[in-house]
Amino acid sequence: MDEYFNKGIKEIIEKFPEVEDVLNDYDIGCGPCNVGICLLKDIVAIHRLPEDQERQLMARIAKAIDPDRDIRIPRAEKKITAKSEELKYSPPMKKLVDEHVLIKRWLALIPEVVENLDVESEEGRRLILEGIDMIRSYADKYHHAKEEDILFKYFDEEADIIKVMHEDHTHGRSLVKEMLAALDKRDAKTIAANLMAYRELLTEHIRKEDEILYPWMDNQLSTHQVGELFSKFGEVDRQIDVSPGKYEVFIDQLEQKFAPQEG
């Protein structure tokens, strides 16, 4: 079992598919992750399960890896769920979680935007450009920059979990780049496919951050570091040339446009 503790989760799941089901039972959704380089030991640590559940999880994984071994699976005292308590964040992490709210509202609108995609009219192209600007300016420049330029620097950037977050950001940027090129060619199919891919990518990315990464980071940060981060995030907000209010208006208007008509 010890040798698997230091192996990437994707490699383990490929070899022992049952491990994915075991992890799912504890709300650890590593299965769909397309990177999967996080080590099993880090995944267990980062989810901060209650001690009895962690013991049970490890015993079940050991059983899935080596069914012939006589392993006693301990009974968990509490109901299996990693999110039994409401997550509480330090103020800088809460700020990042709050910024996710506007991004999630945009992600929720993407299917409607795709359904009504119009690359021929000026109005249609303007909507696509405004959506791309929301991604580039608010989600990437305003929000992801706080993570990449400040937050991640407090941690080992070679850690698998941080690498995965960087890869998600890079993937998002390449989808945007392709969308802009497709808009020039009036290629609605590529724009639609990339918007949906971006929606899927960011939905999972935000879930990982809200439920796993930020709580784990909060656990590692000292009181002094929390104060520093809060102050640095505030400095970014004061100096950056991105106005969050502009994007709130954009999302408000889009929600009104696609709101179901009454009567």
Partner: protein, 159 residues
Amino acid sequence: MEKFEGCPGSRMMDFKKTDEANTGPAVGKIKSQLTQWPIQMHLINPSAPYYQGADVLLTADCVAYALGDFHRDYLKDKSIAIACPKLDQGQDVYLEKIKAWIDEAKINTLTVLIMQVPCCGGLLNLAQQAADGAKRKVPIKYVVVGVQGEILQEEWAAA
């Protein structure tokens, strides 16, 4: 109906029978982590150099007696002021001093350590009231200590 036993803040309790303190690991002389004087809220100057940009503890008087590892786990690398929200007079001065920490000394964080007894909640309320009235925002953490030194709650309040 339960027998009235008086205010929980001053109710008599004897912990001797459940004493685990003497069975812990033996340690040598513990070095003080206090790096300033004075510490009482009425006596401190909120503009003192050791408060500038500091991580500050606002600690209820009883906390350091209840919490065995207070110096190592909480006081280390911090500046401090102590107060009793139940017995101290003139707490409006405290309010102004906390505001001055935030706005003028530009403290990095404020950690409020209180006992579990109801009257101690007043110190956290005071800190939050001061923070609400300050121009700057700082992260505020609160720690609730049980009467036998256990940490009952340790959380960040909204900044």
